[in-house]
C-alpha cells in the first residue's frame, strides 16, 4: 500500500490538482468565515432584540426565541435541503454555494446568539442596573460595561464553535458544493487511493482550523487581560 501511495504522489500533486484542492480549501474557508462572521453580527442583533422590554416588542421577542430554539435543533444537512427546496419552490435560482452559505448563516446565527446571550448573562445583574441607574442607554451599557467583560466568556465557546463549523461545512458536499471533502471524494473516485486523497483533505482541514484556534486563544488573552482605560 505504501508503495502504491508513493507511486501515486507525483501524479497526484500536479499543478492542476493542487490548485483544485486549494480552491476547495478556499470555498471551505469562505463558507466558514462568511457564515460565522454574518452569524456573529446577526446573532448579536438577536440578543439585542431579545433584551427589549415592554408589550410593544413582545412579538419581536417571541419570534427571536422561536427562531433560536428551532434552528439550534435542526441538523445542518436537513437545513441545507430545506433551503434548497425552499429557494427552488419560490423559483429563485441560487448557486449551491449560495444555498450552503444561507444555511450556515441561519444556523450559526441561532447558535452564536445563544453563546453571546450566555456571555451577557454571566455578568452580574448589578453591573447592568448600576449602568442603567446612571442613565446609560442600552448601547452605552453594552459598549462600556458589558462587552468588555463578556468577551472572555463569549470567545472560548465561540471559537470552539467556529472550528467545529469548519468541519460541518463538509456536509455541503452532499449538495455538490466543491469544498474540501467533495474534492477529496472526486479524486478518490478518479482512482487515487483514499489514504492519499482524504489524508490531504484531513491535513488541509487541520491547516484551516489550527490557526483559527490559536487566533481565538490570542484574542482571548488580549481582550480578557486588557482592562480598558
Amino acid at each position: 500500500m505504501i508503495e502504491r501511495i508513493v507511486d501515486e504522489i507525483p501524479r497526484f500533486f500536479t499543478w492542476y490538482n493542487t490548485i483544485f484542492f486549494l480552491q476547495a480549501m478556499g470555498v471551505t474557508l469562505a463558507l466558514t468565515l462568511i457564515g460565522c462572521g454574518l452569524g456573529s453580527i446577526f446573532g448579536f442583533a438577536l440578543v439585542y432584540g431579545r433584551q427589549t422590554r415592554g408589550r410593544l416588542f413582545t412579538p419581536v421577542r417571541v419570534l427571536i426565541v422561536g427562531y433560536v430554539e428551532i434552528f439550534r435543533r435542526i441538523p445542518f444537512l436537513v437545513l441545507l435541503f430545506i433551503v434548497l427546496f425552499t429557494t427552488e419552490g419560490f423559483g429563485v435560482r441560487v448557486s449551491f454555494f449560495g444555498i450552503a452559505l444561507i444555511a450556515i448563516c441561519v444556523i450559526s446565527t441561532a447558535y452564536i446568539s445563544e453563546i453571546i446571550r450566555a456571555g451577557f448573562e454571566a455578568i452580574h445583574r448589578n453591573q447592568w442596573d448600576a449602568a442603567e441607574a446612571m442613565n446609560f442607554g442600552r448601547v452605552a451599557t453594552l459598549r462600556y460595561v458589558i462587552m468588555p467583560q463578556a468577551w472572555k466568556v463569549i470567545l472560548p465557546p465561540a471559537f470552539a464553535y467556529f472550528v467545529m463549523f469548519i468541519k460541518d461545512t463538509a456536509l455541503a458536499s452532499q449538495m455538490g458544493v466543491l469544498e474540501l471533502t467533495r474534492v477529496a471524494k472526486i479524486f478518490n473516485d478518479r482512482g487515487y487511493s483514499a489514504f492519499l486523497t482524504f489524508g490531504t483533505c484531513l491535513l488541509l482541514y487541520f491547516i484551516l482550523s489550527y490557526p483559527l484556534t490559536r487566533f481565538g486563544q490570542r484574542l482571548e488573552r488580549r481582550l480578557a487581560s486588557s482592562r480598558n482605560r
Binding site: A130, Y144, V145
Partner: protein, 246 residues
C-alpha cells in the same frame, strides 16, 4: 413640599404577585430615612422603583414637586439624574479602574468636560479616603474600599437623593466602619438619603426617621427613638428585638 413623595404605590416582578403594596412615604429635603425590615420585605425593590429601575404597577411618585412618569424616557432620565444608588455589591464596573469608574458617567453620559470631572473625582476619592487608589481595579481593592469608591462614584453624579442598599452587608465586620464613616460625612452635609441597613446602631445614629417594612408594606414610621424604644407595631417590636439580640 417633600423632596420625595410616594403615594399608594404597588410594584411586582411577575404579574399578580405584589412585592410592594400600598406604599406611602414622604421624605423631606435633607432627611435621612432608613428602611428596616426582614429580608424579602421589599426594601431593595422600593429603592429600585425610586431610582427608576422597576416601573410600579400603580401609585404615584413625586420628586421635588414633579410627578414621575415611569413610562416616559425623558421623565425617567430626569429622575435618574436626581437619584444615585449604591448596591450591596458588584457596583463598580470590573473592567475599569477607580478613576474611570467615577468619571465615566459624568463624561460619557452627561458629556461634561473631562478636566473638571477629573478634578471633582479626585476630591471625592480623597473625601472617601482613597486618594491614592486612582489606578487600582475593583478586584485589587478590599470590599470596603470598593464600596467607598461606589459612594464616590454616586456623588460624582451630583445627586439630590442618595439611595444606599445594604452597602455594608457583604463586608467583613472590620470593614463596615470605614464605609459607614463615609456615609456619616454625607449625612452631616444635609443630603437627602434613603438608606437600607441592618446596622441598627448606625441607623439609630444617623436617621432622621425610620420606616419599618414587612411583606411589601410599610408597617410603621417614626423617629429612631420611637421605632427602637417604643415601637407600636408588633412586627416592629419582634424585628427590632431579634436584630438587637444579634
Amino acid at each position: 413640599m417633600p423632596h420625595l413623595e410616594i403615594a399608594d404605590l404597588s410594584a411586582s416582578y411577575e404579574k399578580g404577585v405584589d412585592v410592594l403594596s400600598g406604599i406611602d412615604l414622604q421624605v423631606e429635603r435633607g432627611e435621612i430615612l432608613s428602611l428596616i425590615g426582614p429580608s424579602g420585605s421589599g426594601k431593595s425593590t422600593l429603592l429600585r422603583v425610586i431610582v427608576g429601575l422597576l416601573p410600579p404597577d400603580s401609585g404615584r411618585m413625586v420628586v421635588d414637586g414633579t410627578p414621575v412618569n415611569f413610562h416616559d424616557k425623558r421623565s425617567l432620565r430626569d429622575l435618574r439624574g436626581r437619584c444615585a444608588i449604591v448596591f450591596q455589591q458588584y457596583n463598580l464596573f470590573q473592567n475599569m479602574n477607580v478613576m474611570r469608574n467615577v468619571t465615566i458617567a459624568p463624561t460619557k453620559i452627561k458629556k461634561r468636560a473631562a478636566a473638571s470631572v477629573r478634578a471633582e473625582a479626585e476630591a471625592l476619592l480623597e473625601k472617601v479616603g482613597l486618594g491614592d487608589k486612582h489606578d487600582a481595579y475593583p478586584d485589587e481593592l478590599s470590599g470596603g474600599q470598593q464600596q467607598r469608591v461606589a459612594i464616590a462614584r454616586a456623588l460624582a453624579l451630583k445627586p439630590e437623593i442618595l439611595l444606599l442598599d445594604e452597602v455594608t452587608s457583604a463586608l467583613d465586620p472590620e470593614l463596615v466602619n470605614e464605609v459607614l464613616d463615609a456615609v456619616r460625612v454625607l449625612a452631616g452635609e444635609g443630603m437627602t438619603m434613603v438608606v437600607v441597613s441592618h446596622e441598627m446602631g448606625f441607623v439609630r445614629e444617623v436617621s432622621t426617621r425610620v420606616a419599618m417594612m414587612d411583606e411589601g408594606r410599610i408597617v410603621e414610621t417614626g423617629t429612631p427613638e420611637e421605632i427602637f424604644d417604643r415601637p407600636s407595631a408588633g412586627r416592629t417590636r419582634d424585628f427590632v428585638a431579634k436584630i438587637l439580640r444579634g
